[in-house]
Symmetry: C2
DNA sequence: CCACGTTCGACAACCACGTTTACTATCTGG
DNA sequence: CCAGATAGTAAACGTGGTTGTCGAACGTGG
C-alpha cells in the first residue's frame, strides 16, 4: 500500500472504507462481465437502481442521484445506447419523457443484487456474520448521527 | 436513502462503505477549504500523498497511483498551476523531471492528516473507540484475505 | 566509441461524467 | 387566456482518465 501514511491513524480509515467499497464494486463488475454484462460501469448500477421498476424521468432521476438533470439525461442516453433503458412519451404530459428499464436492464439489476448478496456472504465467511452486521450498524449509526447523509451517490468528481 | 433497495441485504454494504468514505472526504475538504485550501479536490490528497516529501517523477507517480503516466502528468500540471507542486530538472538524468511538493503542498498535506485524525476522533466519540478500531481491523482482515488489495487509488471512473 | 534498444516526458485525440447557461415546448392557475 | 413554472435539450467547458506517437536522452554490447 504505497500511498497510505502509516504514521497517521486518521489516514487509514478513509482508505480502508474506499478499499472495501472498491473491492465489492470490482467483484460485482467482474462477475457481471462474466454473466453477459461487460459494458456495465459502477455508476450504471446506481442509475438502474434509481430508475426502479416503475420508471422515472430524467429530472427526477437527477434529484435522486444528486446530480443535475442534464447529467442524468446524458447518462440515460448512454444506458439507452447500451440497451439497458428505453424512453417513452408520457401520455399525460407531453413535456415529460419516461425512462424505463428494458428486459436487459432488469436482468442486470437482478444479477447485481444476487452478486452483492454473494459478496456479502463471502465477507461473512471471513469475518463472521456478526462482524459484518456490526460494520453496517456502525456505519448506519454514524449516518444517523448526521455525520453524513445516506442519500449517497453524486460525487465521483468535481 | 432513495437509491438503496431495502429488500436485498447485499446492496446496503457497498452503499454504507461509500457513504462512510464520502463523509470523511467531504468533511476533510470542507475543513481544508476553511483553512485556506479551497481548491484541493479529493483526488489531490492522494496525489500529494503519493508524491511524498522526497519527490518523484510523473511516470513513477502514475505507477504508484495505478494510472498512466500521461494521466499523472496532467494531474501534476494542475497541482503545479495551483501552487502545490513544482517541477525541477534531474541533474543525473536529463529525461526526468522531478516533481516536488512546495511549501503550500506540504501545508495542505499536513493539514489533511490533522483533519483526518480529528474526523476519526469524532467517529470514536459516536461509536466508541473500540468500534472504530474494529471496523479498521475487519476491513484489514478482508484485505489480507485477498478479498481485495489495499494499494487502492486509481479508479474514479472508466 | 558508437549504434541500438529502452525509458521519460510531451502532445494529440478521444471518452466518461460532471457543471452552468440558455433555449424551446408544454402545462397550470389566477 | 396568458404569466409563470417545469421538462427536456443543447452547447461550452472542466476534470480525470485512456491510447498512440514521437523526440530526446540514457545505457549497454559489440
Amino acid at each position: 500500500m504505497a500511498t497510505a501514511d502509516p504514521g497517521r491513524p486518521g489516514f487509514a480509515l478513509p482508505l480502508l472504507l474506499l478499499a472495501g467499497f472498491r473491492t465489492l464494486i470490482d467483484g460485482l463488475h467482474a462477475e457481471l462481465a462474466a454473466q453477459g454484462h461487460p459494458e456495465l460501469r459502477p455508476l450504471h448500477g446506481f442509475v438502474l437502481q434509481a430508475v426502479g421498476v416503475e420508471g422515472t424521468t430524467a429530472t427526477e432521476l437527477g434529484q435522486r442521484l444528486g446530480v443535475s438533470k442534464q447529467a442524468a439525461g446524458k447518462t440515460v442516453d448512454r444506458l439507452v445506447a447500451l440497451g439497458y433503458l428505453e424512453r417513452a412519451d408520457d401520455p399525460r404530459d407531453a413535456r415529460r419523457r419516461l425512462v424505463r428499464m428494458t428486459a436487459r436492464g432488469r436482468d442486470g439489476l437482478t444479477r447485481s443484487a444476487v452478486v452483492f448478496d454473494t459478496l456479502r456472504d463471502r465477507w461473512a465467511t471471513t469475518l463472521g456474520p456478526e462482524r459484518v452486521a456490526a460494520i453496517e450498524d456502525d456505519l448506519r449509526t454514524v449516518a444517523a448521527a448526521d455525520l453524513f447523509r445516506l442519500d449517497v451517490p453524486g460525487w465521483f468528481g468535481t
